[in-house]
Amino acid sequence: MSTQLPHQLLPGAKEVPFAEIEGTLSRLVQDGRRRSRAPARSLTATVVVVGEPARLVSAADALAQLGEAGGVRTILISQGDQPSPTALVTEHSIAIAGLAPRYIDNAVASLRLSSLPALVWWRGGSIEALDDVAGLADRLVLDTESPDETWARAQTFLEETAVTDLRWARLTRWRALLAHLFDLPRVREAVASFNRLSIDAADVPAARLFAGWLQTSLRWPSSNQISIRRVSADGKSPLERVQLEGDRLTITLHVPSTRTCLHASVGGEDGMARVVPLGDGALTALIGEELGIRTRDLAFERALGAARELSVS
């Protein structure tokens, strides 16, 4: 695994020894202020991203955009075997390459903004380090390609740290649209009769979370039928189609060919159809949304527990 961080990760960054990060940050802030003569911006949180270098690039882009709009300090860390590697530093961002997992928590503890919330965005790496950084995070956002191992570990510290998965944020529109439909009297009356769920999804773990959410929210017995089918798609949405069926009613949600919205229908009736925008699924928007949340998400935790038990046909 490469431990080198590409310079385009933080354009214009200074490369400094680990011990000089804090001093460099202070100097850069002062220099920036002298240059622009603008008042210092209010910083509101620290975002720590841990992952392989390739996955840090997209995170750095997203956080750079977020930083243009709001005040966050970002710390990007790729894992390696060095206790004190060099770092790239800009006014509000730090990138550290090849840091040994056992020192990640020390690095985060020394570089995070004191007294302000810290969000850890976990994009992969040593699972042992996850335990350590979770203890420093006010909110832990999981975002790994194969989430089973991290999901299993995350379930052990739900009591101490507010945990979520970025997939959960991607599902918000789908969940909200379905919840809207459950306000319709005809749907409300049929709640107890729903017993079959089928999902076509580009992201199967997301489909498992969605199914787990529905299963726990509707308090389904294990005998109810859940099927998840993997389909290929353009990546704009984690799910492509959801069908919830009962003996009295069928609800269908799907992404139409325009690829910009979500369409919902109840029992095939036009009068109860609903169209909502697909929403901004960009990493910037998703992580920005996560920054606004501080509390435990019990619905996610229940969904996570159920999702781990689901097998995919």
């Binding site: 977020l66 409300r188 107890a192 308090r219 609903r274 169209v275 909502v276 925008p277 998400d297 996610f300």
Partner: protein
């Protein structure tokens, strides 16, 4: 399964990050062809729909005098989105909303119009939650509500239904007219059904005042006469009367700004902590604050209210006419375009702390802010080494355009000498959170649909505010044109307003 969720509650709402969604709603806009509808209401509905804040069953019935059919109203909707919401062409969101738009036209006092409205509501199987929005001239508020009442439209037809009415400002023109209008509304509606809108209260920074004061332990202990010297509330505009001369000639700055917006700001600054963040608790405490203001004309020795009118001048590098030269304005008009006043509150917290309010058109800069000036330290121990007087601590709440909060305090200048200088510590919504702040009308429309009146004015607040303002108008009414001082457009204030402050040993803040 025995414990499956029943039909009583929505089992999927738990933990949903989307904010509460109103019950199924039909929005009936009176004045649907007007400026407010096009500029504010229709774009707000579009943004709410984009954010999935509208209920699954939502429809709009536009009502106005202009002859128009459903399709023309729908075209107006698209035009409005293009002009005021930057939506260049129809999309899925506007398409969904358009399907729920319909239009009725007729005279506002014609019972047949209301019979057709009732029939439309019934035949379209529209939701039984109905929100009437009175985006019409204030002179017809009473007539419309009377007709709604007579047609049986102010009462829901099902146990779960509801009826609410949003009333735009101005709510009356003086105390008597406000009382009369409240009486008409109360003949047909409960107070809980009436939502008197003041768009200032929908602004994020104004709502943040409550959070700032009551969710922080460090400010409330010093929020009183012992530590605060005075408060200055400023709402300054660079524009003139624009196309509103007909309205403004009758209203003036005192009615247009002070009676509603600025009294709301004052009450939020001066109110005692509510027991809970419930609409009634918050509004009770705001009313207390307003009721504690001494009558503005009873302080015989001092001039508590200054009015003025702008004369020709320069604003933002452009030469502008005086008020009396504006189109639609009388050449002998004595309508005030500027008001400055001193309010004294009779309460344990604020006794002896003046609240200065100023508002005007064609001033040097567009800004709305609340500045709380603290008392100086009792002893200047640095006087011998740094003889410059210490600047008072200042807490400034910027309402618009650059929403945020700043604190001014003294700091030591770097160097071997002990020199002091004031510095500002700034918090800005834009740079700290970045996220787009919702338009006030989005917030307020949604709150009305949800039935949350916290950010709306209650009848007693409106009347208490008019009770303060009306005697001032009465006094002005008896004086002639020569009595109104003038200020040059582009200046900050007339001499008389500066003199009012100087008499108290204070100065207006330089903005």
């Amino acid at each position: 399964m025995s414990d499956a969720p029943g039909s009583g509650s929505n089992p999927l709402l738990d933990g949903l990050r989307i904010e509460p969604t109103p019950d199924p709603t039909t929005l009936v806009i009176f004045g649907a062809s007007g400026d407010l509808t096009r500029r504010k209401l229709l774009p707000a509905l579009y943004q709410l729909s984009r954010g999935q804040r509208l209920p699954a069953r939502f429809s709009v019935i536009g009502v106005a005098r202009s002859e128009m059919n459903d399709d023309e109203f729908r075209r107006q909707f698209h035009d409005s989105l293009k002009e005021f919401a930057g939506v260049e062409k129809a999309d899925e969101v506007s398409g969904t909303l358009v399907r729920g738009l319909s239009y009725l036209f007729g005279e506002m006092d014609d019972p047949a119009l209301y019979a057709r409205l009732a029939r439309t509501l019934q035949e379209s199987h529209a939701p039984d939650g109905v929100l009437f929005y009175l985006a019409i001239p204030p002179t017809v508020y009473g007539k419309v509500v009377e007709q709604l009442g007579a047609a049986g439209l102010t009462r829901p037809s099902t146990p779960t239904g509801w009826r609410r009415v949003i009333v735009e400002k101005p709510f009356g023109t003086d105390l008597d007219s406000a009382r009369a209008l409240n009486a008409v509304l109360h003949q047909h509606l409960e107070e809980s059904q009436i939502f008197r809108i003041d768009h200032y209260l929908g602004k994020e920074t104004v709502q943040n005042l409550l959070v700032f004061r009551f969710a922080n332990g460090m400010f409330e202990p010093v929020w009183n006469r012992r530590y605060i010297d005075h408060v200055q509330i400023t709402a300054a505009e660079t524009v003139g009367v624009e196309r509103r001369a007909a309205y403004y000639e009758q209203a003036g700055a005192l009615r247009d700004m002070v009676q509603n917006h600025l009294m709301q700001l004052l009450s939020l600054i001066a109110m005692e902590p509510p027991i809970t963040f419930s609409a009634e608790n918050v509004r009770d405490r705001k009313l207390d604050a307003l009721l504690s203001i001494q009558p503005l004309l009873e302080d015989g020795a001092k001039t508590n209210v200054i009015r003025a009118q702008y004369s020709p001048g320069w604003v933002n590098g452009s030469e502008v006419p005086g008020y009396r030269e504006e189109q639609g304005v009388s050449a002998t008009s004595v309508t005030e375009t500027y008001v400055a006043l001193r309010a004294q509150l009779d309460s344990w917290r604020w006794a002896g702390v003046p609240f200065y309010i100023r508002t005007g058109k064609r001033l040097a800069k567009r800004t709305t802010e609340i500045a709380i000036q603290f008392r100086r330290p009792p002893l200047h121990i640095f006087k011998r080494v740094s003889p410059t007087p210490i600047a008072s601590n200042l807490l400034v709440v910027n309402v618009q355009p650059d929403e945020g909060i700043s604190v001014r305090f003294e700091a030591k200048l770097p160097g071997s000498r002990m020199q002091l200088a004031p510095v500002m510590m700034n918090f800005r919504y834009g740079s700290a959170f970045g996220s787009a702040v919702p338009e006030a009308y989005e917030t307020l429309l949604l709150d009305a649909m949800l039935g949350d009146p916290t950010l709306f004015a209650r009848h007693d607040f409106v009347e208490a505010s008019w009770a303060l303002i009306t005697p001032v108008h009465e006094a002005w009414r008896t004086s002639g044109p020569a009595a109104i001082p003038m200020y040059e457009a582009g200046e900050w204030s007339p001499r008389e307003a500066d003199a009012m402050m100087a008499a108290d040993g204070r100065r207006w803040r330089t903005l």
